[in-house]
């Protein structure tokens, strides 16, 4: 940053090494519970809750095959809810964001802020009537009903993120197309969509993460048939370590894809979480 390079003193190097070491120690401490659970997934049930803790062991894979055999239906539901709600959110949200950016009116800004505010609404404020409506419409314990609620959760995020990506398209490109007499479909499909593609990908990852990890709607609106992974995992809440190795294997399978997604979308995460309030 500065042209003149400060001279290197030994104490300064020592301080840098100490601070780097501190950062690493804290990072590893934070990650440790996750690493410990993943390691438990490769232990026998006895090793998983042995005192003192077993650190060196012969890894086994039985827990994973057992988990795979049991969590199939919940996995299917989670995939349907996460991917389905993401698709539906884009189906509704992309045209809306396109309309707000390319055909704005005096109310576009306040509409966008209102959309963001719906994202901040606590689900507890709507759960009671939703439960009663779902009961009447026979949507309780269905993956379709849950997918609808996850769409509500992710739609504001999609509109916001797409709005900010589409706003970056230079006006000149659009004007040139309009002079050439481009139709609405052409503007949307040939100009907006290709330019927004990278934004679509990372926003979709965020939507999938949020839907995948959601528990409140899942626990209150589904039970067996429509239950996603969060409900399946919650079923083990009273086991108190009895199936810890098996549960660790199931949990590992649940968290690994999401962590991979989250790590790869780190930059967009801040934008998506703060709605652009921090850059």
């Amino acid at each position: 940053m500065i042209a003149t390079k400060p001279p290197t003193y030994p104490w300064r190097t020592a301080k840098n090494v100490a601070l780097a070491l501190l950062a690493w120690v804290i990072a590893l401490t934070f990650f440790f519970p996750i690493a410990w659970m993943i390691s438990s997934a490769f232990k026998t049930e006895n090793q998983a809750f042995a005192t003192p803790p077993v650190i060196i062991f012969q890894p086994i894979f039985d827990n994973f095959s057992l988990a795979f055999a049991k969590y199939g239906p919940a996995l299917k539901n989670s995939l349907i809810a996460a991917i389905g709600s993401t698709l539906l959110s884009f189906l509704l949200g992309l045209p809306a964001a396109f309309s707000m950016v390319f055909y704005p009116n005096s109310r576009s800004r306040s509409t966008l802020l209102w959309v963001i505010s719906t994202k901040m609404m606590p689900p507890v404020g709507v759960i009671v009537p939703l439960y009663l409506i779902f009961k009447d419409l026979q949507l309780l314990d269905t993956i379709f009903g849950l997918t609808l609620m996850y769409t509500t959760m992710n739609l504001p995020l999609v509109i916001w993120m797409m709005h900010s990506y589409l706003s970056e398209i230079p006006i000149e490109i659009l004007e040139a197309a309009r002079v050439d007499g481009a139709s609405l479909q052409h503007e949307f499909l040939r100009i907006a969509m290709p330019l927004a593609a990278p934004g679509i990908a990372s926003t979709a990852l965020l939507c999938i993460i949020f839907a995948w990890n959601e528990a409140f709607f899942a626990l209150n609106l589904t039970n067996v048939d429509g239950a996603p992974l969060s409900v399946y995992i919650s079923g083990f809440k009273t086991t108190q370590g009895l199936f810890w190795a098996g549960l660790s294997a199931a949990a590992t399978l649940v968290i690994l894809p999401v962590m991979a997604f989250g790590w790869s979308a780190q930059r967009q995460l801040v934008q998506g979480l703060t709605m652009g309030a921090v850059k």
Binding site: M1, A96, S99, Y103, P129, G276
Partner: protein
Amino acid sequence: MTVQHRSLKKKKNAGRTSKLPALLLLAPALGFLILTTQVPFIMTIYYSLFRYSLVDPFKRPFIGLENYVTLFTDPLSVPVLLNTLVLVLSVIALTIIFGAALALLFNRPFFGRSVARTLLIGPFFIMPVITALIWKNSLLNPVFGLFGMASQALGFEAIDWLAQYPMVSIIMMVTWEWTPFALLILLTSLQSLPTDQLEAARLDGASQLQEFWFIVMPHWTRAFEVVVLLEAIFILQIYGEIYIATSGGPGLATTNLPFFIFQKAFGEYSIGMASAAGVIAVVIANIMTALFLRLVNRNATLEVKS
């Protein structure tokens, strides 16, 4: 600024007269959101004015604000409001302190920094119910949890965290989850600090402390505001962790608003009370949201200007 913002947008709209396609593209999304958020919320307000129990759904007398009065005076619900407040405020304070310290630490280049940061933000991506299971089983359990084993190895008694210090336990696990969030936002903000200001200050011979106080802090304060407001909104909604780790207990020790609403509605079928509590949660969240949207809006108008 706003005027400039509008005029820019108007230019984009040049040559288009028909508003119909724009409306048709917008309507489905807005309709969906109104149908799934605003309509049920209005119903929640309506239910909150009745003594309405699913045990006897056809007898529901209008009682005005009685549910709200009960909520703020009943010894069975006042602790719930206090718990919610304690949880939200403690987690915000702790994550701000840890997040800020870590952001300063990670704003310096060092070996393997991006790997270390990636590991550090891991907890934020863990499904909350799994977070609770990890803490409950492998850390806090007095018999085979690592905390218990460690304190025994050091010659102390093992603590049954969830029974003896239930709220502290919940605060610990939620702090573990949300510290990465604070770190990410505070670090992003630090890294976007305009370097020319720093250079100018250094040329003027500002000390490190002056540099931090007069250049870094004014820029950084905004990120703190964002963290506080967003955490206030999202920690208010904590549910999965409590459902798994303590079920709101022992007694009411860890029952917060969302868990209380769940118990009232689906445990006691007391729709009126649950609705009143839901309205309170939304009112609190809306105040935070209004403050937050002012920050978003300020940023958006500034963006157009630059």
